[in-house]
């Protein structure tokens, strides 16, 4: 028999997964809109962000209600505390994707530069980090979650690499400055999404092991 608390947790988990799908779709569509200069797709990303914002509030309300009415302890408590923080990370990820989509709209009509950059690769890595974090949560696999933290370093390095490449392009041809600055912002945004994915992995480890590894120097 499923207890009331288990039912509440399942309900929140479903919403968190919906939120995750929404955040991943936002990243994917934002980068696709930038690659293809599809402003309609960019507008859709911005519009969908409102849906994610509403879901964030719903999840927070559900978590508070469950804490107050069910007074969970141990792993149940850690899971709900993790949900609250992961919820915030997912909302921020969707916000950042929305900012990338705004960049597509801002760059509309300008010639594309540096199509071979690592930006799409960064986006794919970030999406995989988020997916892996949730797989680690479902399977309670700490080593899988820990792997995400090392992948974040790769995303950080890619951001620096993209920055260098675009800086060189600007130095060679100042006319591409608006596009280059836009792409630098996009790479930086993806780097921040990687940070949020890392945060999610840290919350997953906290849920599984009860250990807070935030701010640990590696």
């Amino acid at each position: 028999m499923i207890t009331h608390l288990e039912g509440e947790i399942e309900g929140i988990k479903k919403k968190i997964f919906t939120m995750t799908d929404g955040a991943i779709e936002a990243i994917s569509n934002a980068i696709e809109s930038l690659k293809t200069m599809d402003v309609k797709l960019a507008a859709k990303v911005i519009q969908n962000d409102t849906r994610i914002d509403k879901l964030e509030i719903q999840i927070d309300d559900d978590c508070v209600r469950t804490l107050v009415t069910q007074q969970p302890a141990a792993s149940d408590l850690r899971l709900i505390l993790s949900f609250i923080k992961i919820n915030n990370d997912l909302e921020r990820i969707a916000d950042i994707a929305s900012n990338i989509a705004k960049e597509t709209i801002r760059l509309e009509g300008r010639p594309q530069i540096h199509p071979e950059s690592d930006i799409p690769g960064m986006a794919t890595t970030c999406i995989n980090m988020i997916k892996t974090a949730f797989e680690a949560m479902t399977t309670k696999d700490v080593s899988m979650a820990a792997e995400i933290i090392s992948i974040d370093r790769e995303v950080d390095e890619l951001n620096i690499q993209v920055y260098r490449e675009l800086f060189t392009l600007m130095a060679d041809n100042p006319q591409v400055m608006p596009q280059a600055l836009g792409l630098i912002m996009v790479a930086k945004s993806l780097e921040r999404i990687g940070d949020h994915a890392k945060n999610i992995a840290e919350r997953v480890i906290y849920y599984i092991e009860g250990v807070d590894i935030r701010h640990e120097k590696s």
């Binding site: 007074q71 969970p72 302890a73």
Partner: protein, 250 residues
């Protein structure tokens, strides 16, 4: 600093072992909560600490309990002085059918205090310590029977602390009380901790989390886990404890 040392304690009701090889040290000025399902031995264990079980026929104790380094189960140990040192508060409040004043003064008198001024001082300080003074100071010579459940329980605690024990044992002291009275008792436990060492049996997990420094989880007479309360309720060491406190037991 260790106040109570319990070493390999076994307790039997005839042939039935109710407490199985339990060892716990309790530090001075801390609150230890005992949790576990009904029949797990936690109340029996609690009553071993002031030898309340001695009066039950067919019971037997093995192992030892030391308070301030002195074995309370040694031959010729003065049980009356033990009960003075280790006070007890029960689930059901049990004030004497006397006045509020007499409820506290009685224990003082049978403990040899005859000076009226000293008794008055102790009645007042005990009632103040249990936050009852303001509520009852104008009717000290009225019967305590008309009190609410919460007031009666606080009077029983006042009666207990009047004789200045070192240790207070509480067996579900707030289980029959409304939330406001429960909160007062819990606040009182926080206050009393500065002066006394407290061991409390409770079925209310949130209460254990709120009032205690350490929590011991009992199951079928065994001590399963003893840990800091914060640890027990966030990340217990054992899966069995986790299952019990998350309600996934059995």
């Amino acid at each position: 600093m260790k106040k109570i040392e319990i070493n390999a304690l076994n307790f039997y009701y005839n042939d039935t072992k109710a407490v199985n090889n339990v060892s716990i040290d309790v530090d001075k000025n801390t609150v230890l909560a005992l949790i576990g399902p009904s029949g797990c031995g936690k109340s029996t264990f609690l009553r071993c600490i002031n030898r309340m079980n001695d009066i039950i026929p067919g019971t037997r104790v093995e192992g030892d309990i030391m308070i301030d380094g002195e074995s309370i189960y040694q031959n010729k140990y003065d049980v009356t002085s033990l009960r003075r040192k280790v006070g007890m508060v029960f689930q059901k409040s049990n004030p004497f059918p006397k006045t509020i004043y007499e409820n506290i003064a009685y224990g003082l008198r049978i403990n040899g205090i005859t000076d009226k001024y000293e008794i008055e001082k102790k009645v007042e300080s005990s009632l103040k310590a249990t936050a009852l003074w303001e509520e009852v100071k104008d009717r000290l010579h009225q019967s305590a029977i008309g009190f609410s459940g919460g007031q009666q329980q606080r009077l029983c605690i006042a009666r207990t602390i009047a004789i200045q024990p070192d240790v207070i044992l509480m067996d579900e002291p707030a289980s029959a009380l409304d939330p406001i009275s429960t909160q007062k008792i819990e606040e009182l436990i926080h206050e009393l901790k500065n002066e006394y060492t407290i061991i409390i049996v409770t079925h209310n997990m949130q209460q254990a989390a709120r009032v205690s420094d350490y929590t011991a989880f009992f199951y079928m007479g065994d001590l399963i886990e003893l840990n800091k309360t914060e640890k027990i309720f966030t990340k217990p060491d054992l899966e069995m404890t986790e299952k019990y406190i998350t309600g996934k037991f059995g």
